[in-house]
Amino acid sequence: MFFRTAWLVLKKDAAIEAKSWEVLTTTLFFAVSCVLIFAFAFVKEGRAVEDAAAGILWIAIAFSGTLALGRTFERERYSETLRALLLAPAPRAALYVGKLLGMLALLGLAELLLVPLIALLFQATLFARPLLLVALLAGGTIGFCAVGTLFAAMLVRARSRDVLLPILLYPIIIPVIIAGVRGTTALLGATPDEPTAIMWIGVLGAFDVVFVTLSLWTFEPLMTE
């Protein structure tokens, strides 16, 4: 029942998205623009500042993720479909999991585009340890989306929700971003520093456990009017 509900929510969101591809295309475009803006900030005499690639990658993920979160839940506000979802006789936490999976898929697609792009534009050796990079990206994205989905959902009813989402989200997920950037930086350079990267993957894993548990636990009371 639980996973079926989550799956149905995910399928519903995918079906809506497949009609216009609005959120996906705008998110991807925005992610690329972020990379370009930061590229100009961190390029000196035609070459990027050392280690800038890791920071640019995570900033692009965080910024485009925030945009996608806002857009995804804005969609649920039209004709109060979120309320309809909440009225359904299904565990609330399953709705959250469905939404979270949708966000993860969306950001995963964005990362599929971002990582090769950044590796190419900044001559970053991101693919030297592909498994560690995937683990870092997964850990960071889950942490970001876990808190982001919860906050975006609870802000649907709030005034000035567009501004409040990044204001509430960033201070709390900055530790996740720090861990992601540090771990990715350790992978860059001539000799990837594996122990450091693995240590940061562990930190991300701990964050994910805490954030997902807390979100599942507080989603129900937060969405009750």
Binding site: M154, I167, L168, V203, A206, L222
Partner: protein, 218 residues
């Protein structure tokens, strides 16, 4: 509660008046000299902030799951007080850092984390102010996540290399420094309690006034 408030406030005031004299009599720390004295105000303000965060997180949990307006008022008060004490720490820290490190601010783990916590609780105030109806629940979520992140950020200091003095310095203080230090900690904790009582009472009166307005309009 009201009976204790007067004596408590008076005691806190007295302790704060006495604290400069007591701090002045404490011996100098050998390597830092006079600037080390800021420690007696800097560390207690962080103690008070962490306590306020714990109160805010706990009260937020109670409010979120029990829908308890009293817990909400305590969470609101503790959240604001955490910001106040955090600000004290963020002001006294750079004053010391300028002398000890030669710069006002460094992107050291502990400083970064302190700033993050401060920002988290400021965002909690903002959501209450601009979130519109139902924002008490949103602020409760911020309080809970703020509390959940705190041990991590505290632990990150040990993972990350840091030039901030370690937290382990406190239990190893010689007695002539420990006594004034714990005196200041007590004064700060009392100040926390006094401010909390004042702010909760203010919140209670605001709620009562709102109810009167509503009753009058009906």
């Amino acid at each position: 509660m009201r009976k204790v408030f007067g004596p408590l406030a008076a005691l806190t005031g007295l302790m704060f008046v006495a604290s400069p004299f007591i701090v002045a009599r404490a011996p100098f720390e050998s390597s830092m000299g006079i600037v080390s004295k800021i420690f007696y105000f800097h560390v207690p303000s962080w103690f008070a902030m962490f306590t306020a965060i714990a109160i805010c997180g706990g009260a937020s949990l109670i409010h979120l799951f029990r829908n308890n307006p009293r817990a909400d008022r305590i969470a609101e008060a503790a959240g604001e007080i955490a910001v106040v004490f955090g600000l004290m720490g963020l002001v006294t820290g750079p004053l010391w850092g300028r002398k000890a490190w030669g710069v006002w601010w460094i992107w050291d783990a502990k400083l970064t984390i302190a700033l993050l916590l401060e920002m988290t609780f400021i965002s909690g105030i903002m959501v209450r102010k601009y979130g519109g109806p139902g924002s008490d629940k949103l602020a409760a979520a911020v309080g809970i996540f703020g509390l959940a992140v705190t041990p991590f950020v505290y632990e990150a200091v040990n993972i990350w290399r840091t030039i901030h003095p370690l937290t382990s310095v406190v239990p190893t203080l010689p007695q002539r420094m420990a006594v004034p230090f714990w005196f200041c900690v007590t004064a700060y904790m009392l100040l926390l309690v006094v401010l909390l009582m004042l702010r909760v009472n203010l919140g209670k009166r605001q709620a009562a006034l709102d109810e009167l307005y509503l009753a009058y309009e009906d």
